[in-house]
Symmetry: D2
Subunit: 341 residues, 4 copies
């Protein structure tokens, strides 16, 4: 039995990106068994170049862990919440003193009966930060249990974090990088490269991504297949790819801008890093270099660049599939053609 | 740039499984960058052997695709729904005539204003069935559009399917294999192997998996980390691993049975196959053979065996992490120890 | 202390409705403390007359109750599910033998570990059916426990029903009357009566009802204030108004039809009856007569007519508020003016 | 046609409450057509007296309105977010200058493509605050549009508020009063008054309220019938009862405390006031006086007392129904007996 297995990887053509930390055509690797994904994403990348580039914006970034404790009563929980509010600077110092990169940003809580869930939010430099925040939360919990002996330990993770599981909290309070990408696609590009009309993509987005997802009982989800591109990108860059679960919860919004199509992709929970588990693998280092995410600079800069490229890649794949689905039969024909090659 | 990248894979120790199509100790491969997952899952596998095996039950299986059409009015949609109900046998024949394996099981619909979403449910033999059901849905849509010209094409996929996205519909109407695994763990095994007490796991399940997930705004989700094991298993067996999104939506239920712990894992949306995309890779074929999922038999048998092994693997990893989280500090100590090796 | 309190009620102007069981201008009563609701709904009613009427379609009707039982293992649950499938006719007879109106339509189930949830779906004549289905489910549970002694009682209601609580299951499997109402509003009517343009309502629906609700972590919810009209209508007609919880989970879909606005309201869970608790109150009987819901006919006819009028009323109020919200400041000005009167 | 209709109302027996602003036995009115609700809630009230009272804690209070604006790009949205962060004191002054009671607490936002949703959170004194926050949000929007002309008006309410609709945001960021009530019920009281055992209630809560609701695709919902008590209480006290939609999204948590039952009810979104629409009706004023919610004191005190009594009433009804559902057949027998009276 071999210990290392092969996942097919391919670099897709240059994606044109404009944004805070990326102003380039960037070549992107995608690892997937579903090889038609390459052609799909590539077509979107071509549009990005023809349309003058994807504008990327990072709205927010943070990584989280929620501990759960219990008291005799909710009143005790509330007293501790209020006390911690007063001592927030102490908590921040505690975090900073035990890690070079972790920085406590904010604290949220929920009380359910006598259970107290405390959600800590951190900056974690260039790491995705899973372990860093678990370590920090562990330290914070130890400190809280020492200082508030009216509380008892339940768990270092109370599922109000929330890691690799469907939730609303990650989108509302934030977890990972919250990235929006936008592009204005001229009608001519739409016709020539995507074989469709701007209005047809705009309409399909409403009927399928918005209404279809609502009917399906979706939760903060309105897209066709964000998860596919996220998976390929995460695997190719050594990420903990199970985070595509929350990554999949994003949305597409479009509007007509005169004759052209404004197309946007909002991905609120991109969880990526350029250091940490999986990042020492040779192909990962090659891929980071390929995308310019291996520069020496202020902590966090590489990870933010990586998140932007990730979101732009999601956009390329999403746009292309949406275009295909506006035409009866195109999707199947494309798949069949692709697999015959 | 290399075209193939390496994902670390490892076989975990034998998992003991009892169920309709598996009565064995089975060795399971898991591909992951998060290497502590192997030790975690292995500990659960050890418990499975000590506790007399995991009982696995397949409650249901089906694969789906939902088309979306539109009419002038909802009344027209309703007329077509009623007409299709009458002609269901014709639809079944249409599906069977164009595929050796696809078999139409059931049809569901939603009407939103003048939009008609039709969700087709199929058996797909040993394939996970993504392409098979898209092809079948495409044929059905063509037939419907020909027979009911009061309808117009919107898309072959209307997000009421729903693929690789968070939803409630997949759990309620079914998509993939719906597998329940169960084990009764003697207190002695709990203590010796899991370093905890049955009551502590039962309590943590309520406070973290059930209540914590509810507070987080989870949707049909009550587990600690199903997604991790699903990802590792899907990658090791050539699956379309983006399906961990719906796979992650499952739940743990426990109860005390006298002195022992009844522990169950319900995974309603396991989407796996033993043939199709990704299954021709040499390491995948090795892994299928390792698990006995490459036998010649009735269509569907290999895929069902694979789904059972998958769910049992999810259980092993889930149990072990839950146990670790009952003890303050154990999780971090384990991670640190693991990564130093 | 007085035993009866006063809720302000008012009849709104005639609503024009076209549909299977209503082809009339109908006067509708609304009971509410929020008196601006009358003017709002009235404006929508005026539009309905000017636009040639609201087309109403009942897509489905059923009432449900889900029992929960438990076994030793999921396999036992599955065996019982399969056995009940074989004996469905017996179950139907059992229901019909103990009630003149209750008729078993369908059965769905969920298995979670060793727990078995069975969701029974019934027709209930002109009653909303809460008690009828509880009685029927109680009988069915008794019969099942007698015939399958491997099962144990947990509860006659397992929250998979689901009554007066947020869920996805009610929209997907059905509970109550599933009604769609539609109207094509000429631009001139939009301008004259609603003081806005068709495009502005269509845009607002996308940005507020669809996208805003998705961001809020809504579940099968895309509307501005269905709950307001439902509450007023339910109180005025003696319904169990706590069912506005599931009633609120519906959606608005619009599209431009040339120069005019297609506006639709989908309300999948209207739970109303013309007989039963609360229906003997004199004002309720007056109101039923006012709307023509007190005729002698086949069971269910009055309740269906009532549901259609209810959905049309929801549409009138929804349309009017949406129009107001397209204009900056109109909402507040209207409220202030209203309350000064 | 009469303009005022009668809703049956009844005062239930004294509920014993201990908490920040209530230390009394309080008599509570409930208006409902579902008259068995009185007996149900009364039984719980009896338990509250026998068990030494319900402990009530207000975790949080705020009222919200979310405007929606749009820009050319997400980058512009982000710039405005950052600018408003700097000028938060100006925004607070703006709110305070135009209202005696409204006080801006916090601001949250979401960006979806080029759409900017800003959620304002306020204190609103003794009013539930619907109109107060709409007025304040309208003023804030006017100011923002004047100061940031790169933004365009979409709507004063963008459904990220969110009023009378299912969501996760209200529970996570807060809307209304977040109240937890707790009680420890001796086994003897459980047996004598509730006719059941503590363990049976604890078990049913797990299987029905937690697991059943999760399977149903519930969202932050784990209770049997909060909505019933909320509706009766809201109608009896002149509230805008459509707010039971978000009110219904709460949860029950229990645990065994030695031989006794710890029973808690968490209701995060109680939206009540003692002044404003509906509060001038004579029966409402009588009811406010009955509960001691008409005292002259600091603004907010009466509304907080009312919220506590409301949550305690929810607890009484919830506990009693849960107890009844532990026994096969009790629910139906009780309903039938009740309706015969």
């Amino acid at each position: 039995m071999n210990m290392f297995a092969s996942v097919p990887m391919k670099v897709i053509g240059p994606v044109a990106i404009r944004g805070l930390e990326v102003n380039d055509e960037v070549i992107v690797p995608l690892a997937t068994y579903e090889t038609p994904l390459w052609a799909t994403t590539n077509r979107g990348a071509k549009v990005s170049r023809q349309a003058g580039g994807i504008l990327a914006t990072i709205i927010d970034e943070r990584m989280t862990r929620s501990i759960v404790l219990q008291a005799d009563t909710a009143q005790t929980c509330l007293e501790v919440i209020n006390a911690l509010e007063e001592r927030r600077e102490e908590l921040k110092s505690l975090v900073s003193s035990s890690s070079r990169f972790a920085k406590l940003l904010d604290i949220n809580h929920q009380v359910a009966g006598n259970l107290l869930f405390i959600r800590f939010e951190f900056l974690t430099g260039d790491a995705s930060g899973h372990n860093m925040v678990t370590q920090a939360a562990d330290n914070l919990m130890t400190w809280i249990l020492q200082n508030y002996q009216q509380l008892k330990h339940v768990s270092v993770s109370g599922n109000y974090c929330v890691d690799k599981k469907v939730s609303a909290v990650n989108g509302i309070l934030g977890r990972g990088k919250y990235v929006v990408t936008e592009m204005v696609i001229p009608r001519e590009v739409c016709r020539a490269t995507l074989k469709t009309e701007p209005e047809k993509i705009a309409e399909l987005n409403i009927k399928k991504n918005l209404i279809g997802s609502i009917l399906a009982g979706g939760l903060r989800t309105a897209n066709a297949h964000f998860a596919n591109m996220l998976l390929g990108f995460y695997l190719a860059t050594g990420q903990d790819a199970a985070n595509i679960v929350e990554g999949s919860q994003g949305l597409v919004h479009t509007e007509m801008r005169g004759d052209d199509l404004y197309f946007s992709v909002t991905v609120p929970n991109i969880i990526v890093g350029t250091v940490g588990n999986g990042k020492d693998l040779p192909f990962v280092q090659e891929n980071m270099a390929l995308m310019g995410c291996d520069v020496h600079g202020e902590p966090g800069q590489n990870a933010r660049r990586l998140a932007i490229i990730c979101a732009a890649t999601v956009m390329c794949g999403e746009l292309s599939l949406m275009a295909a689905q506006t035409n009866h039969g195109e999707l199947m024909r494309a798949h069949i053609a692709m697999e015959r090659r």
